[in-house]
Symmetry: D2
């Protein structure tokens, strides 16, 4: 790690090529205005050899860090031995190995019985496939989703995504879904599953009995609101009683992000369908799974498909990444790091209680919700200048979010948190950046 | 190439693991019932060391063959030097290099001016993004598409896909599209663009003036029907006159499949939007582009996004693959191989004119349309037994399709065609497979 | 009034012709199994000369009673003088007279400024036209409606109707609407407009900002739940702040049913659009109005139309009926009768508090909500046998509803209530019908 | 008949009240700018005692003329004897009488077996109910309809209406229908049912197999194009073969307009569902029927309903009007008058062949299609000035349409035609109106 991290510099990187050739739709490159060239676990390096601590982790696609060496060596071996790279859904040994590893390392120890579907290699494709099979199994069309949910950007999954700006991009009416208030949306005293239950029981409610309910256990894009175990169990009970399939969208919260492989493990619920993507590919490689209870696996062959559902490099990387789950060591590390982050954020929230509404999240996706939404963006901008990649979250971008690789070195995590403390201090107490850093460092 | 190719063997591969753990939705592994382990250009090898000539090429995702060594070496270098693998849409040098290479090698020489959008890394995501921007630009919602079109499996693109079985999988009404007859659908004498024009000009036709027309220049899934240049030019003229965007879905037909990089180059049309995927990633790696005329690039930042739109390994592979287009040698080879295939298929169609309706397609996607649809499946099954991977196409799977890697060695191409000739002979003339092979070999 | 009213008789009326020739969709004739032949104010007579007190009033279409003589004489005069019966939307003197009368008698005295639209002559056509103009004015598509709302049976209005059985009849997905909880739906302590406001203010809520909110001030089909003035004013304020049009569906509650001509008069709100039908035609004749604030009257000529929007007999009857609103006498009578009904129902609810949840409604649409829904049907059935026409309401048909003509004679009203008291007594105390009647009578 | 008919006068009628109080949506009153006060068979009289020959007949709602005395006397009797006016769908003797009369006079003699449904009293409600039952019976959602169809203005029926202006009024995407070319749309040599059949047989066509096909035998709003018997029989055969219900929308063409009671009688087809409205009420009174083959009458009670489905005055008038069909005299008169009209129009079309494309239509709905659409409007405007009510039709209003009451006196018919001849002469030959009239008269 070079010495510049934490030094406030104004990076002047014109991104000329991108501005000239890439569509206006590009976004993160506008917040992080530099050209990155290398990555190693939780460190990124740009063209000017400036390094950055990665508290973003590919929006959850890099839980095992950049260029994880154990995974990389498997990839290179596979490439060199002429392993199949692309196979549609033909059988390959890389896919077979992944299926077995996933079964033995993940499903069996957790007592879970799912058939594994490989939809197209993105989260939105997994959600699209989940909606299709739920509608087929139940013969119904409606899907219940929740305020501030994010499930994807293709037409089916976008219908279940709450964000008005992203919905507006559709250019057509989005239909086939009903939004209900997420846990806590009406305040801590209101159990919003009671509203769902009342609407389902009332034949005049206007709620078309849904094929499925889709929910994130913690809303990564929606501002780090978390559903309680009690709320999720209530949701599961209601679904069972009305023959509704329960879909957990674990695209961002799965693969250990909240502390366990699946985010719902501690709650005792057993979803009918689970959507996985992002870090399942292990190395940032595109891959997605849709896990379906065997009794609901009523697909006809090829009824949903996609060219890249057989991305074998991702199978190889995924199998290597699953090694992390063969014992409890990673889980233990996540627990320890989560506590470090939680303690730190609580301290900050307490220190700046007039500016910070609360600390939120769990496991290694936590953040600070600000009273004034723009403070979150200001903080992230300042952090980037000082060498930390962080993003905002929430309907008004009012949450500054920390989601480093699960494998981040403790020293780097602490360094990042120190920089965050200094940045908050500078934002709110007017101390110069350098002085702040020196005071802490 | 081992000696067994062409020898009829009955492979007994139980696929136990797949049958037990993978969803019923799996399909190609049912047709090609073995476990593949290696690939090299146009050759595949299974677990039993049996080799197969690949006349399928990942449904068009492997135009440059399996494990293309020039591309692979770039990938391994990039991996070893800690290159960024996953970057969302942050700027990386791999992405910059691709943008420049694509601009210099593909767009500029063809006089094309497009902004490059990176949607999620699959064809369906590209189509979804194309529909969104077309609807935004025009303020209209309808999309005109064509009989037997295939544009993808997520809800938006599926609405423009003709196949009833795949449409039925949606479980909801598909809306926002109008199907019109493709070129030749009403016989060779009817110009079906005239129907489109009449409907557009008639304020009582019931056709809601569309935001866009989306069309494949040759229908890869729809039975290898091709649109003539005249028809496409007429379509373009009508679009222009009514302020309708013309979208070419070049997901399967692009990247040289039909003889030129874009399938529409020879026609003189300039689409407003082009969808690319499959072989753009070069090595079978998931990647997709949406090319948008600058005047239509009205996206807000992040209005469409996706986790894997920054799959940098694909950018590296894509840049390497574009080397093939720096001169005319690949194009020349495709032309030569296309003629070999075309001559061969015409000969077969003529020889078995009572069984084969016609040969179809162009470039390196050609096939035989059978009077009895089941003949196509029987042929492909027999070819697989003899070591050639081929698939059917068309609404009734009535076409046996040849789409080898563009880079297939001539000897292997000819070997494959010989096996095809023998298989047809055996199917229709009752000669034993071995005898047939010996006779030809 | 003949003597038989109140005598329990079992009418055996086979309805042979109807059973043989009319569609299975027929419904009320199954509850009221006789053939009616005459009507006079609040009395009906069947083929067997049995008389019935009409506590149903054509579901609100007969507020001025059957064959109101003042109205009838105008109709007969008009018929005899060759007045125009049917005029599409050409100008006629009957229409002109109605427009002037409506302006002078209804709108001006209430300080209301609306343009009058004549959609097709039914409530559902009025609602369809209201949705169209609201969508046109705002450029938005969504409509917010409420649990247990009833707005009609054609596809547009059915989308805003809560009843699952009726929605199911559509045979297609209903879209373009969002249901939110009506006043009181979450208990007396929860102001459900706060939920609407929160969803509108939250850019991640998934609620597409609506073109309009449509609401009944009292839900005639939905179980006689009433919205408070405070709730309606809050709704109006929220609509104003978000540029949302407020539509009051006064199809059943208008024309004096709740005590004032418009049901919302006492609340202080001024809807952007008001839907009127049922009793506006005065004599049970099909007619409907859509009242639109002048600034929202952005229709192009003929953008919504219908063959029977010029039902001149209804204009003549409507003009005659509006005479009732030239002074306060009818309003006073409604007030008096409402109190009689309210006092009676409260007494019954108190007496049978273990069976009756509460009395509901206001003005001359009130009823009893039963703990066991089937009690409401049993009561109505018994009342019919004894010569009173009453219907159930509510999502589970759990409310027995009283809605006599506003003009019902006091003696007949009281007679009906006595019969109701006796019927309840018989249902719950086991006294024989005849004994009960004699005891009361 | 007063002397002024045919005299060109410029009526200055300000319509002040209508302009001030009625919505901008009003339309016909802008074309026929006067206030009508009386009607008698085919004559209208305005406030200035100017008379008009009615060649419009309430857009087909006044087939038996204005104030038909035989019908009126029945209405007045019924009113005076306290007959039930409004009955929802309770049984009344007026309804029973209508059912029996309709069965005996219409269905039985034609060998037709239909259950009679009373939807709301307008054509659009009938179409909405037809779509619902077809979707329920088949479990499918799509409805095939045809270019230039008009089926109504509520959301369901509007989806099957071709006119772009009217469709645009919906403010939402219209879905659930597929438009195909009507008979003759692709020229006289193309049988467009072949396209339907091809699309249905092709599993890749994108045409979702429909629940129903809805068609007008002659397109009253769509420009008087007529479907041939052969085409309709082909349509029926295709529907039968694919289990699709055939709906004939006879709202405007039924009740004798084309020469027989149902417009399809001469073709030999037997629709599964028939929609009737407009003149079924006999006197211009709102009424509609949906006729359903008994095997498709799978409604649950009340699954479709409406307040005014029991408009008893219309039942009384309808029963009286059906007397016209007890023998062949009316049919004979229609035949004779149709020939007069047809001969006349053919003569005009021939005389002004450079201006008039052709004469169209059949029975007593015929017209002239002009090369320049504005000529049709100019003609109708001139005719109105001279005392004849005529309207345009067609997607560009290019057809001037004649549809007098079926009962028009021959002398008045001829007078109207003379005025038409004079008007054409004046338009195209520059002769002064008066001179023209005198020349002819």
């Amino acid at each position: 790690m070079t010495e510049w991290i934490g030094k406030a510099t104004t990076v002047k990187e014109p991104l000329t090529v991108f501005n000239r050739l890439e569509s206006e739709v590009r976004s993160y490159c506008r917040s992080f205005e530099t050209v990155f060239v290398k990555g190693s676990n939780a460190l990124l390096q740009d063209r000017n050899e400036k390094e950055y601590i990665d508290f973003f982790a590919g929006a959850g696609a890099l839980n095992y860090g950049h260029n994880n060496p154990q995974i990389r060596s498997k990839l290179i071996d596979y490439l060199l031995e002429d392993g199949i790279t692309h196979s549609l859904d033909m059988a390959t040994d890389a896919k077979e190995a992944f299926l077995l590893r996933f079964q033995e390392t993940i499903l069996e120890p957790r007592g879970l019985d799912y058939k594994v579907m490989f939809p197209g290699p993105t989260g939105t494709n997994s959600v699209e496939s989940a909606f299709k099979i739920a509608r087929k199994v139940t013969g119904r069309t409606n899907i219940v989703c929740f305020t501030n949910a994010f499930h994807g950007m293709s037409l089916g999954s976008l219908s279940a995504t709450g964000n008005a700006f992203k919905r507006g991009g559709a250019g057509v009416q989005l239909s086939g879904t009903t939004f209900l208030p997420y846990d806590g949306y009406l305040g801590p005293l209101v159990d919003t599953t009671a509203l769902l239950e009342k609407l389902l029981q009332d034949p005049g409610s206007g709620l078309d009995t849904p094929a499925a309910v889709i929910v994130e256990t913690l809303q990564g894009e929606g501002g780090l609101s978390a559903a309680s175990g009690k709320w999720l169990r209530s949701l599961e009970r209601i679904c069972r009683e009305h023959g509704i399939l329960l879909i957990i969208d674990d695209v961002q919260m799965g693969c250990g992000r909240t502390g366990t492989f699946f985010s719902f493990e501690s709650t005792g619920i057993t979803p009918d369908i689970v959507c996985l993507s992002k870090s399942i590919g292990g190395y940032g490689l595109p891959m997605a799974l849709t896990l379906i209870k065997p009794e609901h696996d009523l697909w006809q062959p090829g009824e949903h498909n996609g060219t890249f559902r057989g991305n074998n490099l991702a199978f190889v990387a995924a199998s290597a990444a699953l090694r992390y789950w063969e014992d409890d060591s990673l889980a233990g590390q996540i627990r320890d790091r989560s506590e470090i982050i939680a303690d730190f954020l609580r301290r900050m929230a307490s220190r700046y209680s007039d500016r910070i509404a609360e600390s939120r999240g769990k496991g290694m996706i936590q953040g600070l919700a600000f009273h004034k939404p723009e403070d979150a963006s200001r903080l992230c901008k300042l952090m980037f200048e000082r060498g930390v990649i962080m993003e905002t979250s929430g309907p008004r971008d009012e949450v500054a979010k920390l989601m480093p690789p699960l494998t981040i070195e403790d020293s780097l995590l602490k360094k990042g948190l120190q920089l965050l403390e200094a940045a908050l201090s500078d934002l709110y107490e007017g101390i110069s950046p350098r002085a702040a850093l020196q005071a802490k460092g």
